[in-house]
């Protein structure tokens, strides 16, 4: 490893590093614009110039481009380097407006910092400035091209890194333009990243524009809740309003970027209909009172009707601590163990993943892999940043094969086999000729990863994937699994679930449950059979809901206890790869000032309390039911004592990359029976929509432009066989009921299937039930 001297300090860094990176290790900041750790060095801005005194090249050089050499001597603040960099600043500022006070980026602008640091205060150039007409890029991104310094970071992020195709560089010389061919909403599902990437105020978050200065924002490291990947985010709030989310950095997981669902999907925190006060039988009560009532009634119920009368329902949205406390409470009450997911299929899948003996990959390992087989997963819908990770591996020369019935799209080259769910199970089991060929390819791969979509594969598919991974492992390398689950804490829900416990549906069907306590879940929206659940809920004596989303059950609950969102409290989640990560409180709950008095002047009445501050963290609420109030660290220590392999949780801090659990600590019994296909039926695939399938994005107003209507997709040849045409209203009959949906033709999907998207417009068919069947036909009009 070469040792070099930078500004009289000596450092040893690995071969192949650049001077800029070596300086970073010494804590020496070399000014730069176009260099970005994820995007690499391109040598465009010329800001990072340093002087090399000893080395194979000498003199003024760009530190982002020159690789370190043993014995190299570099200075970063000598007269020549400083002189050149100040010229670069002057060039960059030729056209840039001198109006930081009215710019939305002011205060978190790299150009502002560099310009001030470089001492460029007076403009010598008094020629005409280059100006542009801005484009309307849709509701998420605002553009102010006059501020552009042409570092090319936006296009490298949008196009090169994330694979967007409708945004690029236009024009040349000092009239280079970064945008679209014509006005219009940016199409990529990762468009918001250009806001983070832009070092000045060209691209700003339109949903946050002119709301706050950076230094006024309350920010804290958090974990995204919109899928199971657990990307690192940094939400920012002010005036009791969650105003924006930017990407956090976790090089093991998301890297430097996040998807638009995560970025623009957190306004549920400010939802105007959010239930902020506790209610008992329709009357507003204090949270303390409601909790006291719950404690008393739960105890009485168990005493008089036995352990099965009370059913506690955890959730893949609730934190690890919340789910664990639910378990504790059940134990203390002598109730049956809780059910941790309203959806039986999803719970079994999560449990099968938590029980996996095959090692799980991190998202970084997916990026580093040379061969990925994606089985039954549509990354852009189920785990958007996985799609970006796959793009990176393809850019590095890797290959992606997707076996999925849907018309899967990815922002990279890949091979797609449109197979039905039944064919997919068969492929994973013995495979036939195609499977044999795939196995050979996987065997030849240096670092293969098997991605499995939990919703489509189900628990049995996950077990099949694990045994495939075990067969593909050899002495030199293992074959990793990358399971995709339903929610941010699905893994924990699977881990904590009792292997013998029945599903929510089975428990309710038994008729013994008198009280159902839903902890941050809505079984009407999140269970496998919403229609049947709705009927069963009417038979309950009491429905208790703890939640922060204004769902139907939250509004109908006999007893409602408002909880804090993950942005308003501390806690932890276990993501799909078994990584335990902590999130920290960003802001205190309260009705946003902007919402009080319908956007008029804030209340002129003074009070010592904050309006809408009633919600408790679910952790606090459950601890109070257990008559305890431990600080988070102590609570986590108790969890570790109870669940041994969660060791490390005690030291966990928000903002750290988290740690991955070793799998195989629990055992899961998984049925390998697939339901028989009825004559003339089609296989039904319920797929999460890209936006609005997870509840927190559904209640986020900012994402509404991305919501689509309910539709039924079918292969054109299947349509011909049934004499159907695109646009027909058709009836879908399944075990879950009968639905009328408009039909669209989808030539890239598997034959013998129909695909229905689960979103805000179609809530009754929920993904995660594995293989199921339906009949589709034109509705018969009866006279």
């Amino acid at each position: 490893m070469p040792t070099l001297t930078i500004d009289n300090k000596t450092v040893t860094v690995p071969e192949g590093k650049t001077i800029l990176e070596a300086a970073e290790e010494l804590g020496i900041v070399i000014p730069h614009f176009c260099y970005h750790k994820a995007l690499g060095a391109v040598g465009a801005c010329r800001m990072c110039a340093v002087t090399i005194h000893e080395g194979s090249v000498k003199g003024l050089k760009m530190s982002c481009l020159v690789k370190v050499e043993d014995g190299m001597v570099v200075t970063t603040s000598d007269e020549r380097s400083v002189e050149f960099r100040s010229r670069v600043t002057e060039w960059q500022m030729l056209n840039h407006p001198h109006d930081c006070p009215v710019c939305d980026e002011g205060g978190e602008c790299q150009l502002q910092e560099m310009t001030i640091a470089g001492g460029h205060g007076i403009r010598r150039y008094d020629g005409p400035k280059r100006t542009y007409t801005n484009q309307d890029l849709g509701p998420f991104i605002a553009q102010e091209m006059n501020r552009c310094i042409q570092c090319y970071r936006c296009v490298r992020t949008y196009k090169d890194y994330c694979g967007g195709r409708d945004f690029g560089v236009l024009g040349s010389r000092n009239r280079v333009f970064f945008g679209r061919f014509k006005d219009g909403m940016l199409e990529s599902d990762f468009s918001g990243n250009i806001v983070d990437a832009c070092p000045t105020g060209v691209f700003t978050d339109r949903t946050y524009r002119f709301k706050s200065r950076f230094w006024d924002l309350q920010e804290a490291p958090s974990i995204c809740t919109h899928c199971s990947l657990g990307c690192s985010t940094i939400p920012g709030g002010r005036y009791r309003e969650l105003q924006r989310v930017r990407s956090g950095i976790n090089e093991e997981v998301n890297g430097f970027f996040i998807c638009d669902r995560g970025r623009f999907g957190s306004s549920y925190v400010n939802h105007p209909e959010r239930q902020r006060q506790a209610r008992s039988a329709g009357e507003t009560v204090s949270v303390e009172h409601a909790l006291e009532q719950l404690a008393v009634e739960a105890r009485r119920l168990i005493r008089s009707h036995g352990s099965e009368a009370l059913l506690l329902l955890g959730s893949h949205r609730a934190s690890l601590e919340t789910n664990w406390l639910l378990n504790q409470w059940a134990r203390e009450l002598g109730a049956r163990p809780p059910v941790f997911s309203a959806h039986g299929g999803r719970q079994a899948t999560a449990r099968a993943v938590a029980a996996s003996k095959a090692p799980l990959a991190s998202l970084e390992q997916v990026r580093q892999s040379d061969f990925v087989l994606v089985a039954g997963c549509d990354p852009l819908s189920e785990a958007p940043m996985l799609a970006v990770a796959l793009r990176q591996m393809v850019r590095n020369g890797g290959q992606v094969f997707v076996y999925d019935p849907r018309a899967v799209e990815l922002p990279c080259e890949f091979d797609h086999q449109a197979v039905t769910p039944l064919e997919l199970h068969e492929f994973l089991n013995d495979g036939g000729a195609d499977g044999k060929h795939m196995r050979e390819l996987l065997q030849q791969a240096k670092s293969p990863v098997l991605v499995g979509g939990g919703d489509l594969l189900g628990a049995y598919g996950m077990v099949q994937l694990q045994s495939l991974a075990e067969r593909l492992a050899n002495a030199e390398r293992s074959c990793l699994i990358y399971p995709v689950l339903a929610g941010p804490d699905s893994y924990a829900a699977g881990l904590l679930a009792d292997d013998r416990s029945e599903t929510l549906l089975e428990r309710l069907e038994s008729g013994k449950v008198r009280m159902l306590v839903c902890a941050e879940t809505d079984p009407l929206l999140e269970s496998s059979a919403p229609g049947r659940i709705a009927e069963l809920l009417t038979g309950l004596e009491q429905l208790v809901v703890l939640d922060h989303l204004p769902t139907a059950v939250a509004k109908d609950a006999d007893l409602f206890i408002p909880t804090r969102t993950p942005l308003e409290c501390d806690g932890s989640f276990i993501n799909n790869e078994g990584r335990v990560q902590a999130f920290a409180r960003v802001l205190e709950p309260g009705i946003p000032l902007a919402q009080e008095n319908q956007g008029g002047h804030p209340s002129r009445e003074f009070s010592t309390t904050t309006p809408g501050a009633e919600p408790w963290a679910a952790i606090e609420a459950l601890q109070s039911l257990l008559s305890q109030n431990l600080p988070l660290a102590e609570l986590r220590a108790r969890i570790v004592a109870d669940v041994q392999h969660l060791q490390g949780l005690a030291q966990l801090e928000a903002g750290h990359p988290g740690y991955q659990l070793c799998g195989g600590a629990i055992k899961a019994s998984v049925s390998d029976r697939l339901p028989e296909q009825p004559e003339g039926s089609l296989q039904l695939i319920v797929s999460p929509a890209r936006y609005g399938s997870d509840l927190s994005s559904r209640y986020s107003e900012k994402l509404e432009p991305r919501f689509v209507g309910a539709r039924l997709q079918m292969h054109p040849l299947d349509m011909v066989a049934r004499q159907l045409q695109e646009g027909d209203e058709v009836t879908l009959d399944s075990d879950l009921g009968s639905f009328r949906l408009p039909l669209i033709s989808q030539p890239d999907m598997a034959r013998g299937c129909v695909v229905v998207e689960h979103n805000a417009a179609q809530t009754s068919l929920v993904p995660g039930s594995g293989v199921s069947y339906c009949q589709v036909g034109k509705e018969v009009t009866r006279d």
């Binding site: 040598g43 465009a44 110039a49 560089v169 010389r173 000092n174």
Partner: protein, 425 residues
């Protein structure tokens, strides 16, 4: 009048283009036959190195050395690309050559491809050269019909296909890596080096990019031998002939094939027939718009790579543009800088914005609104732009500015002091 042996221009006659028949009549394709039948690819590469041929596109890099870096024996697809994106102001030699005798380039491409073992060749041609592109397409078809292009050429087992590809028409496409991007159909920004094209060029494969005139010289070297070729030059370390494109304030502005190392005086007085209107010679660009000016003090300098470098200029493309005594050198430089600033691809800051700043400074001085500080600023720009841009465009653009500051600083001072151009009464 012209005593120089004519290699490249031997078939050049006004208004005529020579095709297969005429080209063969003067010894066309004999070099190809000789190369394929008698020489190995390594022999050919050695011959070109021995002949000391230097690139004719402007940079003057020794062709044999460039070919020496090329992994000719490596398996897989490799490319030979001919750079015919001739857009340097004052340079029109390649266009003249292809107007007269396109088969020379085609033959040169085939033997060069054989020497480098590249199966595919592209001629990347300036969009304004459509008639020349048409000549090339016809010549390629004729060569293919004669069995010189295609599979198993002359039974050698070597296959070669040759394509003509039009340029979109920006100056930056003449930069070899930008050209490769343009050829791939992506935005023609220059690429980072390393990796050099010889390692990772067109479509990620080993590629050599050579100029039209360079490649057209190869058959003549094969026919005449390395020593003969070297002896054509008048300077001891020079070699071959050169196409000199004359322009500017001369009585005759034409393209001539003359020895490397001819003196500027001979060019101006004999071939240019003296400065127009009997005026005095004030300055010239010796090799295209990106080469620093020569002055009357340089009249006896030999026009060759090393001798021009010694006087702070460059041989470039040998497009000689002459300015008479009534020419304002600030205005000339401004005119050139306007071109370069307009043709910047916009990738790096010194070129994109630095040249804009230089243009503004020259405009201000030229219009009589300059102040003494502007002269200092101009020097500062020269110091910081030259050598610090991503590719050679900005470096070249600052060539005339360097010449202006070295030889005509007083003219800048006069503009500033008088508040107008001193040459305008």
């Amino acid at each position: 009048m012209n005593e120089t042996p004519q290699l490249l221009f031997k078939n050049r006659r006004p208004g005529e283009t020579v095709f297969m028949e005429g080209y063969r009549a003067t010894g066309g394709y004999t070099a190809l036959e000789k190369a394929f039948r008698e020489m190995s690819p390594a022999d050919l590469r050695g011959l070109v190195k021995e002949a000391a041929l230097r690139g004719r596109g402007g940079a003057g890099f020794p062709t044999g050395v460039k070919w020496g870096f090329f992994p000719a024996d490596a398996p897989g697809v490799k490319y030979l690309v001919c750079n015919c994106d001739e857009m340097e102001p004052g340079t029109y030699k390649d266009g003249e050559l292809l107007k007269a005798d396109p088969h020379q380039l085609v033959e040169g491409m085939i033997v060069s491809a054989y020497a480098l073992q590249t199966e595919v060749g592209y001629i990347f041609i300036r969009y304004a050269y459509e008639p020349q592109a048409e000549n090339l397409r016809r010549a390629i078809a004729e060569a293919a019909a004669a069995g010189y292009i295609g599979k198993n050429i002359l039974g050698s087992g070597f296959d070669f296909e040759l394509h003509v590809h039009g340029s979109a028409g920006r100056y930056i496409l003449g930069e070899e890596t930008a050209l490769l991007n343009g050829l791939e159909g992506i935005r023609p920004n220059p690429r980072m080096k390393p990796p050099f094209p010889a390692v990772k060029g067109l479509f990620g494969r080993p590629t050599t990019v050579n100029n039209v005139e360079t490649i057209s010289n190869i058959p003549h070297i094969i026919n005449g031998g390395a020593q003969w070729f070297k002896d054509l030059a008048l300077t001891p370390d020079g070699s071959g002939t050169k196409l000199y494109g004359l322009s500017g304030h001369l009585n005759r502005t034409e393209c001539f094939e003359l020895p490397v190392g001819i003196s500027l005086r001979e060019i101006v007085e004999v071939y240019g027939k003296g400065v127009r209107g009997g005026k005095r010679f004030k300055a010239c660009l010796p090799g295209g718009a990106s080469t620093p000016y020569l002055t009357p003090a340089h009249m006896d300098v030999a026009l060759d790579f090393s001798s021009l470098e010694q006087v702070g200029s460059r041989f470039g493309t040998a497009g000689v543009t002459v300015f008479d005594e009534n020419t304002c050198m600030v205005a000339v430089t401004l005119n050139l800088i306007r071109f370069f600033a307009r043709e910047s691809c916009g990738w790096c800051t010194p070129c994109r914005d630095g040249l804009t700043m230089v243009r503004w400074l020259l405009e201000t001085i030229d219009s009589g609104k300059g102040i003494p500080e502007h002269l200092e600023m101009l020097k500062e720009q020269l110091k910081n732009i030259s050598g610090n841009s991503f590719c050679a465009l900005a470096e070249g653009a600052m060539g005339p500015v360097a010449g202006l500051l070295n030889h005509f600083e007083q003219e800048i001072v006069d503009h500033i002091e008088l508040g107008r151009c001193p040459l305008r009464k």
